[in-house]
């Protein structure tokens, strides 16, 4: 039973007892505030709860003042389809026909560096539980991965672990992995980024929220047992100050069991179907501390919990450890007493272990007993909602003006076609542009039978309704190099690219999720980057009239003074009335005309060309005209509705050259392309025509019989369009010919593109 538990009575009696608040990550003034709130010192259990819930990860204390913009910079149109906005486990968007989609991206960066396999696996598990807790069936996942330099020996360790963990957990869970990103850059060497995104679908009436309402309703914990994993700071709690005989240090990284999670998904969906839960919350960061305080705060405000009822994997855990444990695959539900038997019948059917911990009360207090004694008695809002808020110092980076002045404009260009070809092949084989099959072949995208598009398409697409064909598309993007040059513009560019990637699939962009990965908030220059990126994203969302529905902030991606490039990953969700009209990103036919939509400018700063050919990062990121992006998306949608285009590929990293390379390699159908019209109309050289990363551009293939209609559509919308080539032979003779410059057999392009990742990792 209770092992030397620090009771409320004890806390009142021993006000001067020293407490290890600093070791738990609390600042002296934060500790003082807790004492002020409670009117006494906290018990060790309360201290545990406050310390995890007031952590940066849970409380957003450094980012809160900036994130408010996402709620403020909105128009009525942005709220039109929003069923649940920011603040819940995940945002929910109405996609029509009675269907809704919920989606969110989250970081699991730090655990994935320490223990890549379990870190990445539990990253998937955590985001999937957020989706389940909204009442939805999870239907897709994707991961945004950023690793250190491809040739650094430690990178292979992280890549193998992370990819293996995602493959293990996601495949075993039966969720199609339909897209994502993989980048290599030395700025991520000690701080790889492992972001995980999940999408779920639900009928409108199935929406569930995390609140504990209805006095007398039961609070039930079900799923995996609670163990000593993922306690993190709790190892301190088990140290001298509390209990000399307690368990020794526990691993701070959680261990995942996808089988338990799969069973939990099916069990939860059956509970929802039978209307057996009033409120539900997943257990992620901060475990029971988070679930109880959040459920109580969002409901009637009171809750009573008997901590002895928690089923344990390790009976020696202390109360503080039980409160802080981040054991995976657990959920907490609020159940009406008269439905408890039916609830138990469902969990028993799925062999899911379950215990009733307590009930909802009207006391306005979260009261927790352990060993028959009161160890927690707090106002739950002070734990979950009214945490500290910081306005951290912000400083304009001392180095950024010099960086912006160092443009790629003066870097030497290829002197002739042969040199252009060498640069082209170098880019195709560069780790960030090379074929990612080595990684994606380890992911199942077939399961569930509704995947209409997946990598290497620009967006992933899932059918939601098997009768009507209604579906959604999703894409994520972030270019850390652009963000390093200008975080405000970089964030806008990330949104523009994700938006464009969804649009080229034929879907209409509807909502945004973001995962904001930055260095230390205690570094004023990092805080400046953060503030600029959030402002850029919020302004861009307002301009495009597309709401941010939720997301996550990950700070402290920094080793010593080396912060990562600011990496605001932006995910855009789109809706498509019938996935049958989806557009692939590469052509499947010979003899189609190739058109370039948009204008090419001299924009090589921060580009893949500058990086690969010259190891250069400097200047200003490309211009980003969001109203032009909206027009472009609308044009593609119009053309798709009339079935005028065979394929559409967004132009981004590596410019036109990379879009062409990917398009010929995908189905092995070559192309003849001329650059002179681009060079003349846009007044750029061949290097820019091929490698510029100007935004607002898409490469489309159009069947000859639809030529007139397609051009008519562009003309009516006054959108710049140039015919730049035709698709050519397939088979052994297939080649990409850049007229007047060079020709490369498709087989050679494929071999170059495919060789890079296996060379480093196989």
């Amino acid at each position: 039973m209770a092992r030397h538990a620090d009771t409320v009575e004890n806390a009142v009696a021993t006000p001067e007892k020293e407490q290890p608040f600093a070791a738990l990550g609390l600042k002296p003034d934060e500790y003082a505030r807790i004492r002020e709130i409670l009117g006494r010192r906290p018990t060790s259990g309360e201290l545990a709860m406050y310390s995890v819930m007031w952590s940066e990860h849970c409380s957003y204390k450094s980012s809160k003042i900036y994130l408010r913009q996402f709620g403020q910079k909105v128009t009525p149109a942005m709220k039109e389809h929003l069923m649940v906005g920011m603040g819940e486990n995940a945002g929910v968007v109405d996609i029509g026909e009675g269907w809704a989609v919920t989606f969110k991206v989250e970081s699991h960066n730090h655990p994935s560096y320490i223990e890549p396999f379990q870190g990445a696996a539990t990253g998937v598990g955590g985001i999937v539980r957020d989706i389940i807790s909204m009442g939805a069936r999870p239907v897709a996942v994707m991961d945004q991965l950023r690793f250190g330099a491809v040739d650094n020996p430690d990178t292979a360790r992280v890549v193998h672990g992370v990819v293996g963990g995602i493959s293990f957990y996601g495949n075993c869970l039966g969720l199609p992995n339909i897209g994502g990103e993989t980048y290599f850059d030395s700025c991520y060497q000690g701080n790889p980024l492992v972001n995980a995104l999940a999408v779920g679908v639900l009928r409108h009436e199935d929406l569930h929220l995390a609140n504990a309402s209805g006095v007398g309703n039961k609070v039930v914990l079900f799923g995996a047992r609670t163990g000593g994993d993922g306690i993190g700071g709790a190892s301190i709690l088990a140290s001298d100050s509390f209990d000399k005989t307690g368990p020794t240090k526990r691993p701070a990284v959680q261990v995942g069991d996808p089988f338990a999670e799969k069973v939990l998904i099916e069990c939860c969906l059956e509970l929802y179907r039978n209307e057996l839960v009033e409120g539900i919350q997943d257990l992620g960061a901060a475990g029971i501390s988070c679930a109880t305080s959040e459920l109580a705060s969002n409901g009637d405000g009171g809750m009573f919990i008997e901590l002895d009822n928690v089923l344990l994997r390790d009976p020696t855990l202390t109360a503080e450890e039980i409160l802080m444990s981040e054991s995976q695959e657990r959920m907490m539900a609020v159940v009406r007493p008269e439905k408890l038997d039916a609830f138990m019948a469902v969990v028993n059917k799925w062999d899911v272990e379950t215990s009733v911990l307590g009930e909802v009360t009207d006391t306005g207090r979260l009261i927790i007993h352990h060993g028959g004694e009161e160890i927690v008695n707090v106002d739950p809002r002070t734990v979950a909602i009214d945490g500290p808020v910081y306005e951290r110092p912000v400083a304009y980076p001392s180095w950024i003006d010099a960086l912006n002045a160092d443009s790629a404009r003066d870097l030497p260009r290829a002197a002739n076609g042969e040199e252009l070809k060498e640069q082209f092949l170098a880019l195709v084989a560069s780790p960030n542009l090379a074929d990612k099959s080595y990684i994606t072949d380890q992911y199942d995208y077939y399961v569930m039978g509704n995947t209409a598009l997946a990598f290497p398409d620009d967006a992933g697409m899932i059918r939601v309704d098997e009768q009507s064909g209604l579906g959604f598309a999703i894409a994520t993007d972030a270019n850390g190099r652009y963000c390093q040059l200008d975080p405000y513009e970089g964030a806008r560019l990330a949104l523009a690219e994700a938006y464009r990637n969804v649009a080229v699939s034929g879907a209409t962009p509807m909502a945004v999720t973001d995962c904001l990965n930055f260095g230390s908030p205690e570094d004023p220059e990092v805080m400046w980057q953060f503030s600029r990126a959030v402002e850029g994203l919020a302004d861009a969302c307002l301009e495009m009239e597309i709401p941010v529905t939720g997301g996550n902030v990950s700070f402290y991606n920094q080793t010593g003074t080396n912060a990562i490039h600011p990496t605001p990953v932006v995910g855009v969700l789109g809706v498509i009335d019938d996935v049958a009209r989806r557009i692939p990103s590469a052509w499947q036919d010979e003899g189609h005309n190739l058109y370039l939509l948009g204008v090419t400018r001299e924009e090589l700063d921060g580009s893949a060309w500058a990086n690969t050919v010259h190891k250069h990062l400097g200047g200003r990121p490309p211009e980003c005209d969001l109203s032009r992006e909206i027009e472009l998306a609308s044009l593609i949608r119009g053309a798709s509705l009339e079935s005028l285009i065979g394929s559409a590929h967004d132009l981004s990293d590596g410019g036109l050259a990379q879009a062409l390379a990917e398009s010929v390699v995908r189905f092995g159908i070559g192309a003849r392309v001329w650059l002179n019209d681009i060079m003349e109309r846009d007044a750029v050289d061949a290097t820019n025509a091929l490698f510029s990363e100007s935004t607002g551009r898409v490469l489309v293939s159009v069947p000859r019989e639809d030529d007139v209609k397609f051009l008519g559509l562009c003309e009516a919308r006054e959108f710049p369009v140039l015919r730049i080539g035709v698709t050519d032979r397939s088979g052994a003779e297939a080649a990409l010919e850049i007229q007047g410059e060079f020709t490369v057999p498709v087989s050679e392009l494929r071999a170059r593109s495919n060789a890079t990742l296996p060379h480093y990792f196989a």
């Binding site: 039966g174 089988f259 338990a260 799969k262 077939y446 399961v447 039978g449 509704n450 692939p584």
Partner: protein, 230 residues
């Protein structure tokens, strides 16, 4: 005709199998592992997935589920049974099919559109294919390497019980490129690739003609439909 699909804890492709059955024109019946009742079905599919998290050995725990007693009984009496991936592993664990399935030789999970040759078109699940027909079926597994002792291999090869063979690439190190086998009667078939993922244009494997247009998997289910009706 009614074809049952058994859901075990950790089954993943059970709904896909039910969809495939319905697209083939039969009635799919969802069966639960914990029951002893086959609900009067005419054929059974053991679907893919990670039943019981692949603990102990893939398919080992599921092969002792209550319903498996009925499946083994029915199979011995000639009822058509198809084991897909994890279902194949269960059939092997239940000794309805010989041999075993081990970790892929390269150590990774792999998902690919796999070319197969139908080597026996006289089983309950392959009668709609022509002899030696080449088909494309998605494959996705971590432990799909087929092994058997020399004697068993000789028997399988000699009796024409190697039903499917990998062509082009052997994706998991299977002996003799074996992708699927049958029992001596031909009513029980197990294979690693997933026919239920190649039944609907737009959601299947790539073919030489169009992305995601492969529907070769549909004929597994039409085969059994015709066999039972005949």
């Amino acid at each position: 005709m009614r074809i049952g699909v058994i859901t075990f804890p950790g089954s993943l492709d059970d709904r896909d199998a039910l969809r495939a059955i319905s697209l083939a024109g039969a009635e799919g019946v969802a069966l639960w592992h914990g029951e002893h009742d086959l609900h009067g079905v005419d054929a059974i599919v053991l679907p893919g997935g990670f039943s019981y998290g692949d603990y102990l050995r893939c398919g080992a725990i599921a092969s002792h589920s209550p319903i498996m007693a009925e499946v083994i009984d029915a199979a011995k009496k000639g009822m058509p049974v198809l084991g897909i991936c994890n279902g194949f592993q269960m059939l092997v664990e239940a000794h309805l099919l010989p041999g075993g399935l081990i970790r892929n030789h390269h150590g990774h999970f792999i998902r690919r559109d796999q070319l197969l040759r139908v080597e026996n078109n006289s089983t309950a699940w392959t009668s709609d294919f022509s002899a030696n027909e080449e088909i494309v079926i998605p494959l996705k597994n971590g432990e799909g390497g087929y092994i058997a002792n020399e004697e068993t291999l000789k028997e399988l090869e000699g009796e024409g019980r190697v039903v499917f063979r990998y062509l082009g690439v052997n994706p998991n190190g299977s002996l003799n490129d074996i992708a699927g086998i049958s029992n001596a009667q031909g009513n029980v078939v197990g294979l690693m690739p997933h026919p239920e993922h190649a039944v609907e244009a737009g959601f299947g494997p790539n073919t030489d003609f169009r992305m995601r247009s492969g529907v070769d998997g549909l004929r597994f289910f039409t085969s059994v439909l015709e066999g039972v009706l005949a």
